[in-house]
Amino acid sequence: MSHAATDPATTAPSTSHDDRGNQVYVAPGWKLTWLRFKKHRLALVFLWLIGLITIVATIPAFFATMDPDDSRAARAFRPPQVIRIVHDGTLTLPFVYAAESARNPRTLKLEWTVDRETRLPVRMFVKGFEYELFGFIPVDRHFVGIPPAYEGSTVHFLGTDRLGRDQWSRLMFGTQTSLSIGLVAVAISTLLGILLGGISGYYGGLVDNVIQRIIEILQSLPPIPIWLALSAALPRTWSVTTVYFAITVILALLGWTRLAREVRGRFLSLREEDFVSAARLVGASKMRIIFSHMVPSFMSHIIAAVTLAIPLMILNETFLSFLGLGMRPPAISWGVMLQEAQNLQSVVNAPWLMIPGLFVILTVLALNIIGDGLRDAADPYAN
């Protein structure tokens, strides 16, 4: 530090002390956000979880153990089979016990008993039903399952439903539908939100007034009845894919208002910021001001808001499908699966039918925590 003492006027004290600090000072906004986000341990853990769920949603067939539509009455309401590694007190490779069903002569109900003698080995990357990866690569390997040698036996980690379909496999495919509906609906409403919110916030005046009134009216509508009414209006004859897109659009149509408000608020406050005035004074064009000055400075906020909007969409799809007005069978989504657990009797009969609900909770929870972490990290004035 002796040089500082000899020439104090030219040496800023911070340079020699704080190299890491200086990197922080010059980092772009998104990098700062990421640095702050990384400190939020819980959010980071859930980010990994969402990554995992996304992989499942991309290639559900790889994770499924059998065809999700394969139904057999003899397999109905089979309880979940636990993967075990201890048999008769000795450690072995993972396996499940087989189970036998018998019809109760009095109630005529199918009753399952675990057969503690027969073991079915559970292995990774086993051969199973054929499917096409990404729609064109034929594959028959699966993440887990029982080896082909035990043909005729099936494994159901999460039990089976009323028609004897494997819940685990259905859950994998349902993840794809539910997650993608959430994403696409949010993408549409984000576009609408940024566009209308941006116009509203940047131009102000009459345009702003009209858009704000529309948002207010949309926001004061009771959402679920409107969704229900719109979904009920979809013709019964439409194909699964058409319904899928229709539902997505319906969800997005009422979902963009929150984001538009957020974007407008940011635009309004940024318009008054010095750096925007400075850009205007040096003669930057409107487009340049919006896209290279204003948008980057609220991008983190938008990402956070979008992350928080996805779980809402997922919950809404689940609601609609659960009530029978969203996705319709044979489509598989979390909501469609939960339809099987619609009344007390079926739940008491087969509590495992509620398991897809736990996945909904976990996914929504994870996305909410990540979104909150991002939002806190995006605020430059926090701490």
């Binding site: 104090p8 800023a12 704080d18």
Partner: protein, 345 residues
């Protein structure tokens, strides 16, 4: 030091208020010592971030989390009824305990920085003054209201009785500041702590408010701790001055002496940066070189040495000079003595 000053009412000894954070401990106040005498105005100056506000908050035990008084004493001569005096060490009192709550508002009152934000927008100013009166005095509601209106009159609030029911956002900046002063005076405190009370208002109103404070101080004989970064205000109002830098006292003494004979290089630099009526026109004003270092990277030795034009290599960057009597003032600088503080705990 000159002996014609009144009794010491508040004595701050080696006060340390630290803020433990995830990245390290911020030593906002790190060994501050000064005395406030009966009936005097003590000015505390320094750049923003020098710890002057935290020092004042410590005196009222108002330091917010995670800040904590870690060492030192704040000896306050408490004298409610005019007969028996008790000495209280505020630094040892429990935050928000019963004792400190009696002292706050009752014996030591705060005149805050932002009068606008210091009144709740949802309650009338009158009700907020009445509340303070009733907290510390055993009076009826009517009596409290009478006192509140009396105080509003005293601070020169026009048509005080109508303004009693007004909300802070219905008043102008100057009137708000007057209302806040009325609130501070509500229980006749012996010490007023004014935390940059004039920064948020325009210059004309500022002069009026300073005039008001001077008058009130004369009339009540109360002591005022006046915090500011404005040396001009100190010159107008204060009897004594404490110059702070990075949580430490650099120099202190009578205003007349310190301003005419600044001894610490920091005080000199501060005074040199004020434009003077007598200086040449169009000269470049000197500024204090460099900026305040990051709070987590305090320099070793004298905290001012990296910016000090007279720093002595091998001395100033190694040890912290003690605050010692030099002629009529006290100075912490190796240019004036060579006594260092013992290695810090």
């Amino acid at each position: 030091m000159n002996e014609d000053r009144g009794d010491v009412v508040l004595s701050v000894r080696n006060l340390k208020t630290h803020f433990p954070t995830d990245d390290g401990v911020v030593k906002a106040v790190d060994g501050v010592t000064f005395d406030l005498h009966q009936g005097e105005v003590l000015g505390v100056v320094g750049e923003s971030g020098c710890g002057k506000s935290i020092t004042m908050k410590s005196v009222m035990q108002l330091v917010g989390k995670p800040g904590r008084i870690v060492d030192g004493q704040i000896l306050f001569k408490r004298n409610r009824d005019g007969t028996n005096t008790e000495e209280v060490d505020i630094a040892k009192l429990r935050t928000n305990g019963k004792k400190i709550r009696e002292i706050r508002g009752g014996d030591i009152a705060l005149i805050p920085q932002e009068p606008m934000a210091s009144f709740s927008p949802l309650h009338s100013i009158g009700s907020q003054i009445v509340e303070a009166v009733m907290l510390h005095q055993d009076v009826s509601k009517q009596e409290a209201k009478r006192i509140a209106i009396e105080k509003l009159n005293e601070v020169g609030m026009p048509s005080a009785e109508q303004r009693f029911d007004a909300y802070s956002w219905q008043l102008s900046g100057g009137l708000r500041q007057r209302a806040i002063i009325a609130l501070a005076l509500a229980c006749n405190p012996s010490i007023l702590i004014a935390d940059e009370p004039t920064t948020a208002i325009d210059v004309t109103t500022q002069a009026q408010i300073l005039e008001l404070l001077k008058r009130l101080q004369r009339e009540h004989g109360s002591s005022i701790l006046f915090i500011t970064h404005d040396l001009g205000v100190i010159a107008q109002l204060a009897d004594h001055v404490v110059v702070m830098y990075l949580g430490r006292v650099m120099e202190q003494g009578a205003v007349s002496d310190v301003f005419t004979h600044p001894r610490h290089p920091y005080t000199r630099a501060l005074l040199a940066s004020i434009p003077s009526l007598h200086s040449e026109p169009r000269i470049e004003l000197p500024t204090v070189a460099g900026g305040i270092p990051h709070p987590l990277q305090r320099p070793n030795g004298c905290p001012f040495h990296p910016r000090c034009p007279d720093a002595i290599p091998g001395t100033c960057d190694v040890a912290m000079p003690k605050l010692l009597d030099v002629e009529q003032s006290k100075v912490a600088c190796f240019l004036h003595h060579d006594e260092a503080e013992e290695a810090d705990a």
